[in-house]
Symmetry: C2
Subunit: 377 residues, 2 copies
């Protein structure tokens, strides 16, 4: 039985793609939506007003990083994460589970939870479903995620089943620990590795517990795009129509496009921000590497159709110069551009769905990406 | 005979301190003025509109860095430095001489000029007075500096004299090579190390050549503040009243305060920008190190009287967190703050001079700096 603390208005559909609107106490999120990553209470190389200017309506912050530094209780004492980082719109916090598995040292997983040592200073921590929910509450999360066990990839079906079943028990404990508040939401997370039957069982069990939204976790971990799309086709129909669906940690523009076509509403990924710090730009003509010497004398903007500061005020020659000189402004401008590109990508899909033009729009996007930015379109 | 391509209106005086206004084709500069450093065609960690928002009316860009990368001819082909870096207000370029001495490898100084190898890739370059002027013209400098020989410190009087005399010959060659344009200016540079007689001779020789403005170079190289102030007291009266005076590479707030009191109109220094990237903030209560653990739980702004983004929207606890986490946003916010502090410092002096309150103002500033920001004022 869904808790329905979060409003979700479903609009037009085009095939399985859906246009929707999530209503939270701190603001509205038009879906399909992309959430920039603000790992350590900052979207790297961006001021929050610049993040908002790209069109972002919600951020993701990482529980693992914030519980270690500066600490959840400290952020709570300082007025919560929104005030701490000067972002007044909604924030989704992950549960911490994924980073514990990828970053922490000496992890030990048991039924109660995970114990581990900080990758920063070796200090010992415990993360249980109850503590994860408590931390997210201390941070002031608008959307809270259940703690799940991140199934390693690859995993045998038996391993994946045992891991998924533990995640379902943790999901129930997370729900029990969660303090329902109007305008806030708790999302469950589907696990089950690459096994459709497990994914469906996981979805069914989560629905029985009842969440405000449903995430698909453990994807884009090495299974490949075709496999991910096939799994989504099996999993998404097992999720309730009337609740938002969130594909965690995905992805490249073409991954997002394919996942929206399969009924996903929300995304997060480090790609636009991380790439912005390594001279990779996402454009209508595919990714562009600003390190490349072909930009040395190029007076053209990175993408003449883009309204971001990097494209409005600077040449490729200048961006290339900043990258070569190792200037912070390169990271600032390219992160702005990439986040803007991702938000424009989502906006384009949101416009195409009510016009029943999603397939044509997707074809045009793929055509541009494949063309590259050297030869004329 | 001054070229007078640059307008300089002298306003009120208070003791030796002067209020003035420099008119260039690209804009007006209220003096006393501070010029932020945009070494490699970017004020590090700042977007140009943010630099302007701090109150800066002119930037300094480094000829040495730009001639090596991306190259002066390339910048000219791309429309000049203003367009390249998206800064439409005036730019002062240095001559390159100072960085050749401090950064380049295998330098060889001769009467013709300096030959050296790039610190970036070992490529061979020559910098003569004529080439320095040509590069600054290619960049599109609003204020061009003559090439001078940076006298090492310490130097004997004989060494300082020989070096100063070469600088004067180079100043004459620079003037001859300079292409006079309305709304643009050429500045000479006084040398002579710590020897007042040499400084006075240098000033006199420059005046005989005739420049739009006069800089004092080779200061703050290790001679100490008292010695610098004493030298300024000997040198400044030898410069023409009706032309702007620029103390190169200075300095700390207390250096600037003392130099304005001795009749200097213009300053540049890396301190506010460099310190912004190493967690040092300039405030009314002296410098504050944001690395310090005393800020860990401090909800107060860095400086409650400051209008910059860092002080308006964030706590010391947050700034400390960003610094500890090595986040780019720390550099961005602290650079904004420091540049704003320097501009506010100049504005305060500009206001105090017409009110005949410079001494009281200086006393109040020094009192605040000395008090520190822990005990109440």
């Amino acid at each position: 039985m869904p808790a329905a603390a979060l409003g979700f208005a479903l609009g037009a559909r085009d095939g399985a793609a859906r246009r929707g609107r999530i209503e939270l106490g701190r603001g509205t999120i038009e879906t399909p939506a992309f959430m920039p990553i603000g790992t350590a209470a900052t979207v790297k190389a961006m001021q929050p007003e610049e993040v908002a200017a790209t069109g972002a309506e919600i951020l993701l912050a990482n529980t693992y990083h914030l519980m270690l530094r500066p600490g959840a209780e400290r952020i709570a004492a300082l007025g919560g994460l929104h005030r701490f980082m000067n972002w007044q719109r909604p924030i989704l916090t992950d549960s911490g589970g994924f980073q514990v598995m990828s970053l922490a040292k000496l992890r030990k997983i048991a039924e109660a939870g995970v114990s581990f040592r900080s990758h920063l200073d070796g200090a010992k921590y415990e993360l249980t479903p109850e503590r994860s929910i408590e931390i997210q509450d201390l941070l002031g999360a608008d959307i809270t995620m259940v703690l799940d066990e991140c199934t390693p990839f690859p995993a045998t079906e038996a391993e994946a089943q045992a891991s998924m079943e533990r995640s379902m028990r943790w999901a129930a404990r997370s729900k029990a620990a969660y303090r329902t508040r109007p305008g806030h939401a708790l999302f469950g997370i589907v696990q089950g590795s690459v096994y459709p039957a497990l994914r469906k069982r996981s979805a069914k069990e989560l629905c029985a517990i009842g969440f405000d939204g449903y995430a698909v976790g453990g994807m884009a971990v090495g299974e490949g795009q075709a496999s991910m799309f096939a799994l989504l086709e099996e999993t998404v129909p097992a999720l309730p129509e009337e609740r938002p669906r969130y594909l965690m940690g995905v992805g490249k523009p073409e991954d997002i496009l394919g996942a929206v076509a399969r009924g996903i509403d929300m995304f997060d990924c480090v790609l636009p921000t991380r790439s912005g710090r390594t001279a990779q730009a996402f454009t209508r003509r595919g990714t562009v590497n600003l390190k490349n010497a072909r930009h040395l004398d190029d007076p053209r903007p990175l993408d003449e159709a883009c309204a971001c500061a990097a494209c409005q005020h600077y040449s490729r020659a200048y961006l290339h110069h900043l990258v070569r000189a190792g200037e912070i402004l390169a990271s600032m401008l390219l992160t702005q551009h990439n986040l803007r590109y991702y938000q424009d990508l989502m906006r384009g899909m949101r416009d195409a769905i009510p016009a029943q033009g999603f397939s044509d729009h997707a074809r045009a996007l793929r055509h541009g990406w494949a063309a590259g930015d050297i030869a004329p379109l």
